[in-house]
Amino acid sequence: MLGLERKDTYLMLAVAFITLFAPIILNPFPAGSALAQFNAGYPDLMQRFVIFGIFAIGFNILFGLTGYLSFGHAAFLGIGSYSAVWMFKLLSMNVIPAILLSIVMAGLFALVIGFVSLRRSGIYFSILTLAFAQMSYNLAYSVLTPVTNGETGLQISLNDPRILDGPSNGGLPVTSLFGAEMRDSTTLFVGPWSWDFSVGYYVCAALMLLAFYLSVRIFRSPFGMMLRAVKSNQQRMNYTGLNTRPYTLAAFVISGMYAGLAGGLLAAMDPLAGADRMQWTASGEVVLMTILGGAGTLIGPVLGAGFIKYFENIFSKINDGILHQWFAFMPDGLENVMVTLIHPFIGKGWHLTLGIMFMLVVIFLPGGLVEGAQRTGRLFRRRDRNAGHVESDAARQRAAAE
């Protein structure tokens, strides 16, 4: 289907299914129940899942295929957001032109930054990209204030021209797709459950599916094969008549455009862009997402993005009060000990939990969560096969006895 192999088609369908039904799948616990705080099916968080999924999918095209580890991809995320907000200010609150400009601008910046950075490889490449991103971050804060509105961040206001939309009547306008407002959502109540279906989420989800599909095509293309060859042996590539530079640059620009799209979508969900989005921690985050999920795999980056965003938003919300509730059934002394023990891992301490998880994955599952899933799958299959052997052995014995 759609020019994909059967295996990839199944993967694509599975991802499509999960994304489309995410509002239900991510809300397994009835609203109001004690476990409801583990529900992730609210629009704001779901949007983050898919937007950072896009960011990581794009990053994986560069890092997973060519092995070039960029430490400055957040710059393109930020550029995407600024471009989108400018589009909202000048042209229209429709998200389409905003997203298009985000992709184009991020692509242009990636072309320049990639052209310079790709003159080096390995750690020097990483440092160059990091330097560029920090430079962008600092410029956005200081010299470029007329464009970025410095510390306050770029926002829409009532006096913006918005040529296509005309003057707004009343309050600040909201982002929309041909009239469908991004913040709009319908809530469905089924028994004790409640599910939010938000326009913004489905716009992001559709683009994530498109981004994922394109990345599968790239992975299976001759171009993708060349990128893997770059990672494997550049020397052999050169002596085989292939110019590695344009290949790596193309991968860099494509992944920059993915980041731009993600940045544009962030602004489309909430029309606001700040320099923080370009900080090196944000660049580091996408590296973590990709490695945690499984660099070089198709679905890994999306998993990694989901995992990290889940922890960031859910674990950080759990506080001591909630812990006390959980352990209320214990004797007081024990309850306090448990709360003290768990305290460092929750709330502001979610980074610690994530850090430990990341270390465990890197040490025991170098292929990331995807490798974990594959190993589990193989374990089950082997057990099935063994069970099959036992059965057929029994059958043979029976046949021999008769």
Partner: protein, 252 residues
């Protein structure tokens, strides 16, 4: 005029004169062997031909055009392929992919953004690669990861990757080193077969005299960076200068 003309090439590494005034002329469609003791500068000479090193002085002409100053990928696209002394293959890729990549390089040139096509649908390229693997007796290993091959197989794979490009000039740097006798003989047969099938010039560096005498039409003896003699195989055997070069090595 040979297809490859090397004139007055010098290359120094610090105080070491690795190549001193090397002249070499390789006739089109011939097999030319370069022999010499270890450290004679044989690999260095090949490096100067494929753009890995730039000679300090001298000229290298291939097919009437200068090779100097061109990038390795440009030189390959001119029609020179090289088998390295230690196999250079795509270790993370499958054997079949290793051979498909040079096919793509021939068909699509040094760069093409074929990001929306599908490898699986490139039947021509695949067939071409599989036919080549058949020729080197490796078709059954096509789905193996290249890095898991034995050393001999890695060499044969690299040779297949070069041959599938149908180069005008094939440079081989000790292609049978580390191979068992049987594999060495297979390699000789393979090269002879290729030679019989199409027009190709080969320049081969070899330690194994059996290989040299089975294949070469001309032999150049290199010692301490300078060619001592250039002769036919019959005349080289008892040549006093050759003895001297090799005995010199034995005494060290």
């Amino acid at each position: 005029m040979g297809i490859l003309e090397v004139k007055g090439v010098n290359k120094r590494f610090g105080g070491l004169q690795a190549l001193g005034d090397v002249n070499l002329s390789v006739k089109e469609n011939s097999v030319h062997a370069i022999i010499g003791p270890n450290g004679a500068g044989k690999s260095t000479l090949l490096n100067c031909l494929v753009g890995k090193l730039i000679p300090d002085s001298g000229s290298v002409m291939f097919d009437g055009k200068s090779v100097l100053g061109r990038k390795p990928h440009e030189i390959n696209q001119m029609g020179i392929s090289r088998v390295f002394q230690t196999p250079e293959i795509f270790g993370d890729l499958s054997v079949l992919e290793n051979v498909m990549i040079p096919c793509f390089a021939r068909r699509d040139g040094a760069f093409r953004l074929h990001a929306y096509e599908t490898v699986r649908k490139e039947a021509d390229i695949r067939e071409q690669a599989e036919a080549m693997l058949e020729d080197v007796d490796m078709l059954d290993k096509r789905h193996m990861t290249a890095s898991s091959l034995s050393r001999g197989d890695k060499r044969r794979l690299e040779m297949a990757m070069c041959l599938v490009q149908a180069p005008k000039l094939l440079l081989l740097d000790e292609p049978t080193a580390g191979m068992a006798r049987a594999d060495t003989n297979n390699t000789i047969d393979l090269l002879k077969e290729i030679k019989a099938k199409r027009d190709i010039t080969m320049c081969i560096i070899e330690h194994d005299m059996h290989v040299v005498f089975s294949l070469a039409e001309r032999i150049t003896v290199l010692a301490q960076g300078t060619p001592l003699v250039e002769e036919t195989p019959e005349n080289i055997k008892g040549h006093p200068k050759v003895r001297e070069a090799y005995l010199g090595e034995a005494q060290v």
